[in-house]
Amino acid sequence: MTVFKTFWKIVKKYKGTIILYTVMLIAFGGINQIANENETDFVNSKPNVIIVNNDEEKGLTKNLIDYIKNNSNIIDIKNTEEARNDAIFFRDANYIIYIPNGYRNDILKGLNPEIEIKSSGDYQSSLAEMILTRYLKTQSIYNKEIKNETELINTINKTLKKKSIVEISSKLNTDEITKISRFFNFASYSIMAVILYIICLVLYSFNKDIVKKRTIISSMNYKKHNKLILFASSLFALLICILYMILSIILFKESMITTRGLIYLLNTFIFTFTALTLALLVSSLVNSKEAISGIVNVVALGSAFLCGAFIPVEFLPEQVLKISRILPAYWYINSNELLKTTEILNLSTLKPILIDYLVMIIFGIIFIIINNLVTKKKRVS
C-alpha cells in the first residue's frame, strides 16, 4: 500500500499539469460549441466581404451594395486601409470590393467601369467573386437594352432572385458529429501528454538511484512492488480517460448517449491503453527529468500535429498522413473520422473502425514487449 499511496502523492504534486491540459481541452471543445444549430434546410455559405463605396449610395450603386449584402456577410471594420489589409491576410474578410467614384453615372452612360478588388485567394473569395461577377454580368447585358434606371434595377433583381431547389440527402447531423470528432481528436493530444508526462515523472521518482537502491534492499518483494506500480499507473490512466469521457458527455449531452457515442468512448479507452503502454516504455528508457519533458513534448506535439489532432485531417498533406501511420494517434483519429462519416452503424460498416482498434492494441502489445526487453537488459547490466 505504501507504494500505491506514494504514487498518488507524487501525482498530486503535478496536478497543475493535468489541469493545464484539461483546461486546453475544455477551451477547445467550448470554442467548437459556438457553431451553428442543426440545419435541415440548405443554407448558402456566405463569404465575408468588405465594401468600400466611393460613390453616392443611390440607385444602381445602392442596388449593387444591397445585392452583395444579401448574399454575403458584411464585415464591419475600422475604416483604414491597414485594417482592411490585415482583415484579408487573417481571413477575417475574403473579399474587398472598391466601388469607384462615379460608378452609377458610368453605368448609366453605358460604360463598363473597372472595379478594384482584393481577394484572399481561397474558396470563400472565389464564391464572393462569383456573386459579384454574376451581378455585374447581368447588369451589363441588360444595360445595353434598358435605359431607364428603375426598370434596369427591377429587371436585374428579378433575374437574380430565382434560386434553385436544394435538397439535403443526409439525415446525419454532421455538424454535431464533426464537433464530437474534433473534440476527441484534440483529446488524443491531452491524453497522450498527460499520461506520458505524469507517469514518466512519477516513475522517474521511483527509479532514482537512491530510491531504487532502498527499494531493492527493502523487505518488499520486487514483483509485488512492480505490480503495485503498474496497477497505480493503469488506474491513473483510466481516471484520466474517464475524466475526458465525462467531459465529452457534459459538452455534447444526448449525442454521446447513443451507439455512436459509445463507440467514441470505446475508441478513447483503447487509445488510453496504448498511451499507457507507451508511457511505461518511455519511463524505462529515459532516466533524466529534463529529458522526460523534452521527449514527452516532442512525442505528444509530434503525434498531435502529424495525425490531425490540431488541424483537421483533410487539410494534412498525403505524405504526412502516410508517415503518421507509424504513430498510434493516427489510428485513433482515423477511427474518429470514420465514425463521423459512417451513416449506418452495423458490423460491416464498423469493420474499418475495428481494424483501427486492432492496430492500436497491437501497438500497445509491441510497447509492452519492448518494455520487457529493456527492463530485462537493464536488470542484467
Partner: protein
C-alpha cells in the same frame, strides 16, 4: 576578467543539455511540425474542381442551355473549367453521393433543376450558384426575346440569332475586375514567425540560468563570487554576453534552417529579418535577467514563470491559431502592443506583407524600449546588494 568570465559562462551553458535542447533544438522541431502540418492547408482552401453527377434523363437532354454550359464548364482545356461531371442514373448518383465521391447531383424534372447534396457547405453553395447562374442566363435570354418582340412588334424575329447573341454575351467575360491585393498572402507564415518569437524569448532561459549562477542567494558559486574582490558588473556583463552570443547563434541557425530548408518566406528584406532576431534576442535576454534578479524564488519556479509567460505571449501572438493574434490586434490592441512575442511576430509579418517600414520600425522600437526598461529595473535591483547572512 570580462573575457575569462565570458569563456567559462559559455562552457557552463553549453554543457547544460536541457538548456540547449529548449533553446536550439525545440524551436527547430516545432518549426518542422508546423511545416509538415500546414504545408498543404492553403492549397486545399483554394477552389478546386467540383465533382458532380447529372441524371441523364430526357428532360436534361432537351435543355440545350444547360447541356452547352456544362460542356463548357467540364471542358478541361477551357478557362472556365470548374466541374467534373459524371452522367449517370439516379441510383448510381445516390451511391456516389453516399460514398462522398461527388458534392451533389442534379435532377431535371418538371421544369425545375433539383440539386441534391449531402450537407451544407461551400462546394455545395458554389454548385448552387453555378446552377442559379445558368438559370438566370436562361431568364435573360427569355427577357431579351420578349423585349425584342415588344419593341419591334413584329413576328419575324430570328430567335436563333438572339439566343446566340445573348449566349455569347453571357460567356464573354467583359467584367473588368482589378485585383489589387498584396502578393504575400500566406497566413501560415505567421505560425513560423511565432516560432522565431518563441525562440527569441526562450533565450531568456540562458541568461536566467547563468545570472542565477552568479547570484549569492541562488547558488554556491554565486556566494563565492560575491565575497571575491572581483568587479560584479564585469561578471554579470560577461555572463550576459555569453548567453547573448549563444542566443544569436541559435536564432541564426533557426532562421537559416527555416528559410532554406523549410522554405519559410520572410519577404525580401533579409537584413531587417536578422535585425528583428537580434533585437528580439535582446528582449529575451533582458526578460531572463529580469526574472533572475527581480523575482525572489527558487530556480524551478523561475523557469515555470518564464515558460508560462512566454507561452501565454506566444498564444496571444497567434502560435496556437493565427486568429488569436488578429482578434487581440483588432479588439484589445494594447495587450499585443506590450507583448514582446507579438512585437517580434508583427515585425516579421509587416516585413512580409507590407511595403512600408512604418509598422516594422514601431515594433523594433517597442522591443528596444521593452528591453531597456527590464534591464534598467534589473540593474537597480542588482546594485549594492548586501547580505548579512544567507
Amino acid at each position: 576578467m570580462l573575457y575569462h568570465n565570458l569563456k567559462y559562462s559559455l562552457k557552463v551553458l553549453l554543457k547544460n543539455k536541457g538548456l540547449i535542447f529548449w533553446t536550439f533544438a525545440f524551436p527547430i522541431i516545432l518549426a518542422i511540425f508546423f511545416k509538415l502540418a500546414f504545408s498543404d492547408i492553403e492549397n486545399k482552401e483554394k477552389l478546386d474542381i467540383i465533382n458532380i453527377a447529372v441524371i441523364n434523363n430526357e428532360e436534361y437532354n432537351s435543355d440545350e442551355i444547360f447541356k452547352n454550359t456544362f460542356a463548357e464548364l467540364s471542358n478541361k482545356d477551357s478557362e472556365n473549367y470548374m466541374l467534373n461531371i459524371t452522367y449517370t442514373d439516379l441510383s448510381k448518383s445516390k451511391k456516389m453521393l453516399d460514398n462522398n465521391e461527388i458534392t451533389g447531383y442534379l435532377l431535371f424534372s418538371n421544369n425545375e433543376v433539383n440539386i441534391i447534396v449531402k450537407n451544407n457547405g461551400i462546394n455545395e453553395t458554389i454548385l448552387r450558384y453555378i446552377v442559379d447562374e445558368i438559370q438566370s442566363n436562361k431568364e435573360i435570354i427569355n427577357n431579351l426575346i420578349e423585349n425584342e418582340i415588344r419593341e419591334n412588334n413584329n413576328f419575324s424575329i430570328d430567335y436563333k440569332t438572339i439566343t446566340e447573341n445573348v449566349k455569347k454575351q453571357v460567356l464573354d467575360n467583359n467584367i473588368k475586375l482589378n485585383n489589387i491585393s498584396n502578393k504575400n498572402l500566406s497566413y501560415t507564415m505567421i505560425e513560423f514567425y511565432t516560432v522565431i518569437a518563441m525562440a527569441c524569448l526562450y533565450g531568456a532561459m540562458l541568461s536566467m540560468y547563468i545570472v542565477n549562477m552568479k547570484l549569492p542567494n541562488m547558488s554556491n558559486v554565486g556566494k563565492r563570487i560575491s565575497i571575491s574582490p572581483s568587479n560584479k558588473n564585469k561578471i554579470i556583463l560577461g555572463s550576459l554576453f555569453a548567453s547573448y552570443i549563444l542566443e544569436l547563434i541559435g536564432i541564426s541557425i533557426l532562421l537559416i534552417f527555416t528559410s532554406l530548408i523549410l522554405k519559410v518566406d520572410y519577404g525580401n528584406n533579409l537584413p531587417l529579418v536578422f535585425l528583428t532576431a537580434i533585437v528580439g534576442s535582446l528582449a529575451g535576454l533582458s526578460l531572463g535577467l529580469f526574472l533572475a534578479t527581480v523575482i525572489k524564488t527558487n530556480e524551478n519556479a523561475k523557469i515555470g514563470i518564464l515558460i508560462s509567460v512566454t507561452m501565454l505571449e506566444c498564444f496571444l501572438s497567434g502560435m496556437m491559431g493565427i486568429t488569436m493574434k488578429y482578434i487581440i490586434d483588432k479588439n484589445i490592441p494594447i495587450i499585443n502592443k506590450i507583448n514582446p512575442a507579438n512585437m517580434i511576430t508583427d515585425a516579421l509579418y509587416s516585413l512580409y506583407y507590407y511595403d512600408s517600414l512604418k509598422r516594422y520600425s514601431l515594433n523594433i522600437l517597442s522591443l528596444l524600449i521593452f528591453s531597456i526598461i527590464l534591464i534598467v529595473i534589473s540593474y537597480i535591483t542588482l546594485r549594492r546588494q548586501k547580505y548579512d547572512s544567507i
